[in-house]
C-alpha cells in the first residue's frame, strides 16, 4: 500500500489484529527418543532407509530408480509461491520414534508419551476410537505407530495398515498398484518422495465391499529438521466403497520443515473413494517465521466405468501449500469431485487446486473452491480441466470464490481449460470480493459481535465444502477455520 488512503475502518482493523494474533494450538513438542538416519540424501541413504525397513528387493529398486530420476529434475518454479531455496542435503530423511522392541505389536506396546501426544491432538485412538467408529492409522514423523480396528476390518477383507506392514504382508498388491497413478517420474517432489518415503497408509477394499467405518490417518511431524515423506495408497476394487480421512499437525519450530507426501487412489469399476483432508500443519508465526512446506502430490484414477473419486480438503495450516488433488477420469461415466477450502493468514501462501482429466465417455467433474485470504496471506487457485478427444459428452462445472480480509492479502485464480471434444460442456465461474459491509452490519445490528459475525459469514461462504465432509470432520473444520481466523467460532 502506498499513497492510498486505508479503507479499512478501525473496528475492522481491530478484528483483523485479533485474527492475526491467534496461537497455534497444536504446537507442543513430544519428548521422545528418535532413531534417525544422518542428514542428507544419497543413494546410500535410500538404501539405508530401505534396509531399516527390511523391504523387498523390488521396493529398493523402485526407490533407486526414483532417486536417480530425481537427480535429473529441477524444483518447479511455476507455483505462485515464494520461499528461500531448500537445501536437500540438510534434511533428515528418516526419523522413527525409538521403541524398546522392534515395533509395537499392539497399542499397549506403544510409547505412552506418543499416545499422550495423540490424545492432545484429539486423535480418537483407544476406546475413543471405538466410540467414534473411526479406524486410525497414526503416522508420527515417518513411521506408522498403531492401527486400530484392524481385526474388525479384516473380517470384511479390508486391509488397512501402515505402508511398511503392507510391504511385508501384501507385497504383490503394493507392487501392482504403487506408482500406477503417480509414477516416480511425475514431478520433482513425487520423485523425492518415491526415493525416500518412510511410511504411510495402505488401504485395500476388496470387490463389492462397503467399508464398515471411516478410515483415518493422523500425521504429525515431531523431530526437528525432519522431512516427512509419507505415501498413501488406496485401492477400491469393483463396486467397493470407502471413506478416508486424513488429519495433519506439527509442532511449532522456527525453521521450515518439508513435507512431501504422495497419495494414490485407484477406483475400479463402480468403486467409490471419498478422501477428506483437514490439514493444519504449523503455519509459521505471525511474522512468517517457521512453518511447514507442504508440497504434496495427490491423484486418483477412476480406472473403471461408473467409478467415483471425491477429494475434500480444508487447508488451514502450512507456511506454503502446493497441492493439486486430481482425478484421471478414465472409465466411462466416472465422476471426479474436488471440494476445497483454503485459508491463508499472516504470511501463509497456498497454491492449490485440482486437475480433472476427462478421458472416458460421459465423465463428469465438479470443482468447488473457496479461498480465504487474511493478513499478508496469498491464496492461489490453480486448476486444470482437460477434455480429451475421447471424452464424448464430458461435463465440468467449476466455481472458485475468493474472500479477502485486509488490504495486504492476495487472491489469485488461474484456471486452465482445454477442450478437444465438441460435445463437452465446461463451465467455469470465479468471483473475488471482501466480506460485504452490509452483511456484517446486519449481523451486528442483531447483536452479534464483529468477530463472530466474520467467522459466521466465512463459515457460510465455505458451507458447500463443509457439507461434503464427514460429520466429525465438518465440526473440526469449522473450529479450525475459527481458530485460524481468530479465537472463537460457533
Amino acid at each position: 500500500m502506498q499513497d492510498t488512503e486505508p479503507l479499512a475502518t478501525d473496528s475492522e482493523t481491530a478484528t483483523l489484529q485479533e485474527l492475526t494474533s491467534k496461537e497455534y494450538k497444536y504446537g507442543f513438542v513430544t519428548d521422545i527418543e528418535a532413531d534417525a538416519v544422518p542428514r542428507g540424501l544419497s543413494e546410500a541413504i535410500v538404501r539405508e532407509i530401505s534396509a531399516r525397513k527390511q523391504e523387498p528387493e523390488f521396493m529398493l529398486e523402485w526407490r533407486l530408480q526414483a532417486f536417480r530420476h530425481w537427480l535429473t529434475m529441477t524444483e518447479p518454479t511455476w507455483p505462485n509461491v515464494q520461499y528461500p531455496p531448500i537445501d536437500y542435503q540438510d534434511i533428515v530423511y528418516y526419523s522413527a520414534p525409538k521403541s524398546k522392541k522392534d515395533g509395537p505389536k499392539s497399542l499397549d506396546e506403544v510409547d505412552p508419551e506418543l499416545l499422550k501426544t495423540f490424545e492432545k491432538l484429539g486423535v480418537p485412538l483407544h476406546e475413543r476410537a471405538r466410540l467414534a467408529g473411526v479406524a486410525v492409522d497414526a503416522v508420527f514423523d515417518s513411521v506408522s505407530v498403531a492401527t486400530t480396528f484392524k481385526e474388525k476390518l479384516a473380517e470384511k477383507g479390508v486391509i488397512f495398515c501402515s505402508f511398511s506392514e503392507a510391504l511385508r504382508e501384501h507385497p504383490d498388491l503394493v507392487q501392482k498398484y504403487l506408482g500406477s497413478v503417480v509414477p516416480y517420474s511425475d514431478n520433482f517432489f513425487a520423485a523425492l518422495n518415491s526415493a525416500v518415503f518412510s511410511d504411510g497408509s495402505f488401504c485395500f477394499i476388496p470387490k463389492g465391499v462397503r467399508c464398515p467405518m471411516e478410515l483415518s490417518t493422523y500425521f504429525r511431524i515431531n523431530a526437528i529438521d525432519t522431512g516427512q515423506f509419507e505415501r498413501t495408497l488406496i485401492v477400491a476394487e469393483e463396486g467397493a466403497h470407502v471413506s478416508y480421512l486424513e488429519g495433519c499437525t506439527a509442532p511449532m519450530r522456527d525453521t521450515n520443515q518439508l513435507h512431501a507426501a504422495v497419495v494414490e487412489l485407484v477406483a475400479l469399476s463402480g468403486a467409490e473413494i471419498k478422501y477428506s483432508t483437514v490439514q493444519n500443519w504449523y503455519p509459521g508465526d505471525a511474522q512468517g517465521k517457521g512453518g511447514i512446506y507442504n508440497f504434496v502430490t495427490k491423484r486418483g484414477k477412476c480406472a473403471g466405468a461408473r467409478s467415483k473419486i471425491s477429494w475434500t480438503q480444508v487447508e488451514t495450516g502450512s507456511a506454503i501449500t502446493w497441492k493439486y488433488p486430481s482425478v484421471i477420469l478414465q472409465g466411462d461415466d466416472s465422476i471426479g469431485e474436488f471440494y476445497s477450502v483454503a485459508l491463508t493468514n499472516n504470511y501463509q501462501q497456498a497454491d492449490t487446486g485440482t486437475k480433472m482429466v476427462h478421458i472416458g465417455r460421459n465423465t463428469r467433474s465438479t470443482i468447488i473452491s473457496k479461498g480465504i485470504s487474511a493478513g499478508h496471506g496469498q491464496n492461489t487457485y490453480r486448476g486444470q480441466v482437460k477434455i480429451l478427444k475421447s471424452a464424448e459428452g464430458a461435463r465440468n462445472y467449476s466455481q472458485c470464490d475468493s474472500l479477502l480480509m485486509g488490504e495486504r492479502c492476495g487472491a489469485h485464480t488461474f484456471p486452465y481449460i482445454e477442450v478437444k471434444n465438441p460435445t463437452a460442456k465446461v463451465e467455469h465461474e470465479a468471483s473475488t470480493s471482501k466480506i460485504a459491509e452490509d452483511q456484517l452490519f446486519y449481523c451486528k445490528q442483531r447483536g452479534i459481535r464483529e468477530e463472530d459475525a466474520v467467522s459466521m459469514i466465512v463459515n457460510g461462504f465455505c458451507k458447500e465444502v463443509f457439507r461434503k465432509l464427514p460429520m466429525e470432520f465438518a465440526v473440526e473444520a469449522q473450529k479450525l477455520l475459527g481458530v485460524s481466523l481468530e479465537g472463537a467460532v460457533g
Binding site: 502506498q2 477434455i387 492476495g410 484456471p415 481449460i417 482445454e418 465438441p422 460442456k425 467455469h428
Partner: protein
C-alpha cells in the same frame, strides 16, 4: 532457424538503407540484440503455452515486400474492404505491404491541430512520443514487440490536441499482397488522445490468397485524462498469413478505452491487448470475437492492469471454432496493492462446431487489494438443443436453425457497437463466414 536468420538479414538491410535517422539506429540495434538473444518463445513459455511458433520459425522472410504489388489484387482488396463503409466520415490511410500508400489514401478533413500521418514521414523529426514508445517496448519481454522496434517501416501516427471531438472515424487499412516467397511487414502505430478528446479509429487488416506472409503490428495508445477512444480492429488476413498484433494502452484518470477485436482471417493469429489503468476512474472495455475454421489457430491474450483505485474493466470474448480450428483465450486481470474499489469482470465463451476443433481458455485473476469486485467466467459448449428444437418445430431446417443460433451467439458481442456502418459491415462479415461454413458442411 530460417526466420531468425532472415530477420537478421532484414535488419542489416534496413540499417544499411540510406536516410535512416541517426537517433533510431541504436534503439533498433539493441531491440534486435534482445530479440535474437531470447529467440522465439516455445510452448514451455506460459504466455505461449497453447500457441506454437514453429511454423513461423521455419519460414524464411528475407524477401523484401514488393513496392508495387499486383494492382488488380490491390484494387479488389481495397474495394472489398471499403465498399460497406460508405457514409463513414474521416480520413482513410492505406498501407500496402507495411508502407503508407498516399495514392490510395484520402486525407479527409480534420479539425485544427489533429495530426494523422504516416510514421515513416515523421521519423526524421524524431517524434518524442515514438521515442518513448520504442523505449517502452525495449524493457518488455514481448518478443514480437522487440522485433517490431528493430524492423518497423511505417504505421500511423495519430495525435489529437486536448478537447478535440472527432466525428466519424479515422480508418487505417493495412493491405498485404503476398509475393511468391514470404515477406514480413512490421507496422508501428501510435494513437495519442489529449485531455477530454473523443475519437474512433477503425483498423482493417486484409490480405489475399493462400500464400504465407508475416504481419507484425505494435500499436501504442495513450489516453490523457477524460479522453475516450473507440478502437476497432478487424482482421481479415489471407489464408496463409501469420498475424501478430500487440496493442498497449496507457490510461490516465477518467479515460475510457473501448475495443472491438474481430478476428476472421489468417493461419496463425495472435492478438495481444494490454491496458494499464494508471489513474483512478479509468475504464477499459474489451470486446472480442474470433471465428476460425480449417486449421486456423487464433490466440487472444488480454491483460488489464488495475494499478489505481476506482477503475472499472469489463471484457467479453466469444469464439466459434469450425473444422480443425483451434482457439485460445488468455485473459488476465491484475489488481495491484491499493487499487481498492476495483470493479472487474471478464467472460469468455466458446462454441465448438466439429470434432476436430479445440479450445483452450485461461481466465486469470491476480488480486492484491481487498475491497474489490472481480469475476470471471469461461465456458465451452454447444448450441442449446432446446432452442434448436424450437426453431425446427417452427419449420426451420436444422442447418439454418444451427446457423441462426450460431449467429446469435457470436453477434451479441457486436450489439453495443456505436457506428452503424461498422456494425453493418461486421455483422455482414460474420454472416458470410457462417454461410460459407454451412455451405462447406453441405
Amino acid at each position: 532457424m530460417p526466420a531468425l536468420e532472415s530477420f537478421s538479414r532484414n535488419f542489416q538491410a534496413l540499417a544499411a538503407a540510406p536516410g535512416a535517422p541517426d537517433w533510431l539506429s541504436p534503439l533498433r540495434a539493441s531491440a534486435m540484440g534482445a530479440f535474437l538473444a531470447a529467440g522465439l518463445p516455445t510452448t514451455k513459455h506460459e504466455d505461449w503455452r497453447y500457441t506454437s511458433l514453429t511454423a513461423i520459425a521455419g519460414t524464411d522472410f528475407s524477401e523484401p515486400a514488393a513496392a508495387d504489388p499486383d494492382e488488380a489484387a490491390l484494387a479488389s482488396l481495397r474495394a472489398a474492404d471499403l465498399a460497406e463503409l460508405d457514409g463513414l466520415d474521416g480520413p482513410v490511410l492505406v498501407f500496402v505491404n507495411g508502407r503508407f500508400s498516399p495514392g490510395l489514401s484520402s486525407p479527409g478533413s480534420l479539425p485544427a491541430g489533429v495530426r494523422v500521418s504516416s510514421m515513416a514521414s515523421q521519423l526524421a523529426s524524431r517524434p518524442a512520443i515514438l521515442e518513448s514508445s520504442l523505449a517502452a517496448t525495449a524493457g518488455a519481454a514481448a518478443p514480437f514487440a522487440l522485433l517490431n522496434t528493430a524492423l518497423f517501416t511505417d504505421g500511423a501516427l495519430i495525435e489529437l490536441p486536448a478537447e478535440t471531438e472527432l466525428q466519424g472515424a479515422i480508418q487505417l487499412v493495412h493491405i498485404t499482397v503476398p509475393g511468391p516467397t514470404p515477406h514480413a511487414a512490421h507496422v508501428r502505430n501510435i494513437f495519442s488522445l489529449g485531455a477530454g478528446c473523443r475519437a474512433t479509429i477503425l483498423e482493417s487488416w486484409v490480405g489475399t490468397g493462400p500464400r504465407s506472409y508475416l504481419s507484425n503490428a505494435v500499436t501504442d495508445v495513450r489516453l490523457a485524462p477524460r479522453s475516450a477512444l473507440h478502437h476497432y480492429r478487424v482482421q481479415c488476413e489471407g489464408d496463409g498469413a501469420f498475424h501478430l498484433s500487440d496493442v498497449r494502452v496507457d490510461q490516465a484518470a477518467e479515460s475510457r478505452y473501448v475495443s472491438w477485436s474481430v478476428s476472421l482471417g489468417g493461419a496463425l493469429v495472435r492478438n495481444d491487448i494490454s491496458a494499464l489503468l494508471a489513474a483512478s476512474h479509468a475504464e477499459c472495455v474489451l470486446n472480442g470475437l474470433y471465428l476460425a475454421t480449417d486449421r486456423q489457430h487464433v490466440d487472444n491474450h488480454t491483460f488489464i492492469d488495475h494499478a489505481q483505485p476506482h477503475c472499472r474493466s469489463s471484457e467479453t470474448y466469444k469464439g466459434v471454432l469450425d473444422r480443425a480450428a483451434r482457439g485460445v483465450f488468455n485473459g488476465k486481470v491484475l489488481v495491484r496493492p491499493g487499487a481498492q474499489k476495483t470493479d472487474a469482470s471478464q467472460s469468455n465463451r466458446n462454441l465448438l462446431l466439429t470434432r476436430e476443433a479445440e479450445v483452450d481458455t485461461r481466465p486469470q485473476l491476480e488480486i492484491y487489494a481487498d475491497d474489490v469486485k472481480c469475476t470471471h467466467g469461461a465456458a465451452v459448449g454447444q448450441l442449446d438443443e432446446d432452442a434448436l428444437f424450437y426453431l425446427r418445430a417452427r419449420g426451420i431446417p436444422a442447418d439454418v436453425a444451427r446457423n441462426m443460433l450460431t449467429y446469435a451467439f457470436a453477434s451479441d458481442v457486436l450489439d453495443g457497437l456505436a457506428l452503424p456502418p461498422v456494425k453493418r459491415r461486421l455483422q455482414g462479415l460474420v454472416r458470410r463466414w457462417l454461410d460459407k461454413s454451412q455451405e462447406r458442411r453441405g
